[in-house]
């Protein structure tokens, strides 16, 4: 088991070395993205229902639910709950969008590396250029994979958040 983990770690390190510095930034972005997404999942599935329950109870306890004042108060509560629900959702979207851009950055820095080698030693040694090319291609792939993993789950999360928001609105009906 230990040996397997060490081997895994070694292969990860080889991968990171081949990809260059950009991969580390990409790893940080990916990590932050997933931490934020998991936090949102947990909030939406466990914490938010209690928020909804509290608001609904408060609403049910009100005697007046039809006046202008009641409407405004209801809207304010929904808005507050929505704000908590939607917190950092925009950041998650941004992080997903940034992943392929970081991959592109890695591509370009890798190509700069390749051309720098060409400028110094000419085209005689393809082995030297190969390191730059792997620096160019690996971040692109990693950026794509990171973005794809993020796109699927963040869109699921978006839908979940929207549904939760609508449920809140529906559970606070106006009583005429």
């Amino acid at each position: 088991m230990m040996l397997f983990l060490i081997e895994l770690w070694e292969s990860v390190r080889d991968f990171m070395n081949a990809g260059g510095l950009v991969l580390y930034w990409l790893a940080i972005v990916l990590f932050v993205m997933w931490v934020l997404m998991i936090e949102r999942y947990i909030y939406v599935t466990w914490s938010f229902p209690s928020v909804v329950k509290g608001a609904v109870n408060k609403w049910e306890a009100r005697s007046d639910t039809t006046s202008w004042y009641a409407h405004r108060i209801r809207e304010a509560w929904i808005s507050q709950a929505n704000e908590k629900l939607n917190a950092r959702m925009h950041l998650i979207g941004t992080l997903v969008a940034v992943c392929p851009l970081m991959g592109l950055l890695g591509t370009v820095t890798g190509m700069v590396h390749v051309f720098e080698i060409m400028a110094n030693t000419g085209t005689g040694n393809p082995r030297l250029m190969a390191s730059g090319i792997s620096m160019a291609t690996i971040p692109t792939m990693a950026g794509m994979v990171a973005a794809l993993s993020g796109v699927f789950f963040s869109s699921r999360l978006d839908a979940k958040v929207k549904v939760a928001g609508h449920q809140l609105v529906d559970s606070m009906p106006h009583k005429f």
């Binding site: 405004r72 704000e83 950092r88 940034v98 950055l105 110094n120």
Partner: protein
Amino acid sequence: MKTVLKSVVLAAGLVLTAQPVLAAAPQAKTLEQLLKQVQSDRVSDNKINKQREQEFLSARADKQALLSKAKRELADEKARGDQLAKDFSDNEKKLSALEEKLTLATGNMGEMFGVVRQVAGDAESRFQSSIVSAQYPGRDKEMKKLAQSKELPELPQLEDLWFALQKEMTASGEIVKFKAPVITVDGEKKEMDVTRVGTFNLLNNNEYLVYNADSGTVGELSRQPESYMTDSVKNYEDSKSGYTALYVDPSRGTILSLLTQKVTLWERYNQGGSVGYIITAVLALGLLIVIERLVVLGGMSAAISKQRKSGTPSDNNPLGRILKVYENNRSVDVETLELKLDEAILKETPRIERGVSVIKVLAAVAPLLGLLGTVTGMIGTFQSITLFGTGDPKIMAGGISMALVTTVLGLVAALPLIFLHSIVYSRSQSLIHIVEEQAAGIIAEHAEKESK
């Protein structure tokens, strides 16, 4: 007729030839005188002829003597030539015998001669490029002399070779300080304390030095390697005892001189050209707006949360200003109040949203500018191709890397701007939610509390 013509011509010829003789003799007046004269002339002519004959005869005897003498000499020389040819062939035989004797006598010595020359040649090239030669100059010249000599090396020379090789070997394992003239970056020659680490590196004054094999001089590097490496030199030179880690150049100076060709980050940034500077300006502008927004929005949200706790509306925050509208219009009906609140909210939103979209635009513009730089760089590359052809990939590679640098810069500028835009955007959105959706609710809660 023909014979008559012939005799006339002959007579004329005789007359012509006799003319000077006649002219020399005294003029004969009469025939008798002429006869006498002819007679006397004949006597004297005979005398002269006799005398000439005598002379001829004596000369002939002389020539005969000369001829016989020359013949004798020829015979002598022929005999000598035969003798010499014989000597020559004899000597040749002797020589070949002696040569055979010599090769027999040389034997293994000849092989040693070859080995010595080869080793001396190897040592010469090694000494020439070795940094040990900075400490002991002129070693390679002695080796060259030995390598090129046609004679068998003598014992002292062999010992010299041995000592030189042994010295190089010993020097490769020691770390010494010595004085040597160093050519500084400015081209001056200065006497400096140089530390030599084996055959790997020359150090001085926290810097790496290089040994120039062609001129046999020590020179400062035009560019030192990165600071963590030069720091190791400093630590090394400062240390008094024990062990200190030091970066050495195992290629004996090649990597160090290659390092001077390496492009620094700053130089690469400058390769981006004017487009690169514009991208930097875009990034700087975006960051300034972000900072301004973060400060303003942070202050605003702090003031708003303070406002929510306190009862009296204040003028220093959007929520307070909206609440003030309600305070001023307590008596009006609900519809008028809503209109008044909408008006107040409309006034507040631009202040909160200001600059946020600019950040987004700048974030979008930066990679586009990078693309622009790429295209202009490629135009430059193709121009150089039309001028110089595709023969030298270095010319093209230079232009292409210049083109790529702007792309990198564009992305590097865009990435933080996108992040920061998202942060600023979320902040402004939460404030706008408070102002647009929650302000009315807060007012309603107030009103309800008061009415109770």
